[in-house]
């Protein structure tokens, strides 16, 4: 999956869950999602949406603020999880 495709899919998840009070397609990859209205509670739904879409599991060590702070950060986490799935 290309980076831009990954970013697109993440935006779809953000919009599906109603995770943000704004349309995720208007956000840049580096924008702070917490500033855009992401709450710690919404990160749970966001994570569940990402797990469903990419068929991955987020281990507890990734369940912290930094993992979800931007679309870039989420891309990095998903990329890591997809790579370790392939290796397994």
């Amino acid at each position: 999956m290309t980076t831009s495709e990954l970013g697109h899919q993440i935006r779809l998840v953000l919009n599906e869950g109603g995770t943000l009070p704004v349309d995720a397609t208007t956000l840049k990859d580096g924008d702070d999602l917490y500033a855009a209205g992401l709450t710690s509670h919404a990160t749970v739904n966001l994570m569940l949406g990402l797990e469903e879409r990419f068929d991955v599991e987020f281990p507890d060590r990734l369940l912290r603020r930094r993992t979800f702070e931007s679309i870039d950060a989420i891309s990095a986490a998903v990329t890591e999880l997809l790579a370790s799935k392939k290796a397994a």
Binding site: T39, S40, M47, F58, R64
Partner: protein, 386 residues
């Protein structure tokens, strides 16, 4: 024992204990205990040394809450609530001159800080506000219909949560300390309750104005998750543990007296006492472990944002609240009628009444619902000695 703790124990046993009964009966502010705590310079212990305090870590604060809780639940709870406010200023105000000055005053003048988070209309949901910081140039005004402000009338300042600005959504909150002289309180309800009567948690309409620089620069969402919530749950748990510990001490004294009266026989309540001490140990271990974990997490800001940390901090509150009444109930059974009486050396009625506040003070069901959400994401079983 640290020197701080020795000072706290002295205030507890010599002052707070002596007035606990009248504080409870008359639902009055524990004036004598707070005069003594100020005199012993215990209100500013969490302020960093650079600002004139002792730089006391959370373990010391929880230990003092526990020590005071053994003598007067209301005194201990007020001390805890004050320390929660101090922690927010200390951990999130270091980059601001106004807040550093406040820290100096907290240590130097031993100011007492109260809290106005609860608001008519949103109940116990501390993460949303109706009222807002209304900015006008370099000044702000703020009006809050605060349904509960413990010792509001006796405090030297109040930390108020509000929406960051007039057009901010309910969850986009700031926290603002306002000091005596900058606010008025119009009393809207009294505090005639089952327990924690000395906290004098009246309702007020609070009207404040001040300098924009007073608003803590960090968003409340962060302050809440990293400081206010863990400090609240740990200090409260310390208070409840103290109350429960004293009830158990009374049960032990009761059984010893029985044993002395009939040497050679084990008093019939002794087995129940053993079970009670067992429960108390659970409660104690929970508070100690969670306090150490918070202390460790504070050294690496990332750890404070982990969902697993939030669940652990929730559990120390709900678990301690539940166990406090359970332990005291057991102590009551051990002491029997002597425990059920409102007078005499073995009474545990005030303990039981005070401890019943624990489950409603930010309702356990609300906190469990919060954990339930977080648990949808968590998967691992952490190492035992991680």
């Amino acid at each position: 024992m640290t020197l701080l703790l020795a000072r706290a124990r002295q205030v507890g046993s010599e002052v707070a204990a002596r007035h606990a009964e009248s504080v409870d009966r008359d639902a009055r502010f524990p004036r004598e205990a707070f005069d003594a705590l100020k005199q012993a310079k215990l209100l500013g212990i969490a302020v960093p040394r650079a600002q004139g305090g002792d730089g006391a870590p959370i373990s010391d604060i929880v230990a003092v809450c526990h020590a005071l809780g053994q003598h007067c639940g209301s005194t201990a709870m007020i001390f805890a609530m004050h320390q929660i406010q101090v922690a927010c200023v200390v951990r999130h105000g270091q980059d601001s001159a106004w807040h550093r000055k406040l820290m100096e005053r907290l240590a130097g003048e031993q100011l007492l800080l109260a809290s106005a988070t609860t608001e008519a209309g949103v109940g116990g949901d501390v993460r949303s506000s109706v009222c807002a910081v209304e900015r006008k140039g370099k000044r702000f005004t703020l009006q809050k219909n605060a349904s509960v402000i413990s010792y509001g009338a006796d405090a030297d300042g109040i930390l108020v949560t509000a929406r960051r600005a007039a057009d901010a959504p309910a969850s986009d909150q700031s926290i603002v300390p306002v000091l005596k002289g900058e606010y008025t309180l119009e009393r809207t309800s009294g505090w005639d309750t089952l327990g924690m009567r000395g906290t004098c948690s009246d309702g007020f309409v609070l009207r404040a104005s001040g300098d924009i620089a007073q608003v803590l620069p960090t968003p409340y969402a962060e302050i809440s998750a990293q400081t206010m919530l863990p400090t609240t749950h740990l200090t409260w748990a310390g208070v409840w543990l103290g109350i429960a510990s004293d009830a158990v001490s009374r049960a032990r004294a009761f059984i010893r007296a029985e044993a002395r009266r009939k040497p050679g026989t084990t008093p019939s309540g002794a087995v129940r006492l053993a079970e009670t001490v067992n429960l108390l140990q659970f409660m104690r271990a929970n508070v100690v472990a969670a306090t150490r974990d918070y202390q460790r997490a504070m050294e690496q800001a990332e750890a404070l944002t982990a969902l697993s940390f939030a669940v652990e901090m929730n559990n120390v509150k709900t678990g301690s609240a539940q166990m406090a009444t359970q332990v005291i109930n057991h102590a009551l059974l051990v002491c029997g009628l002597a425990g059920y009486r409102n007078d005499g050396p073995y009474t545990v009625t005030r303990h039981l009444r005070d401890a019943h506040s624990a489950a409603v003070m930010i309702n356990n069901d609300r906190i469990l619902a919060n954990s339930a959400g977080l648990l949808l994401a968590l998967k691992d079983e952490p190492e035992l000695f991680a």
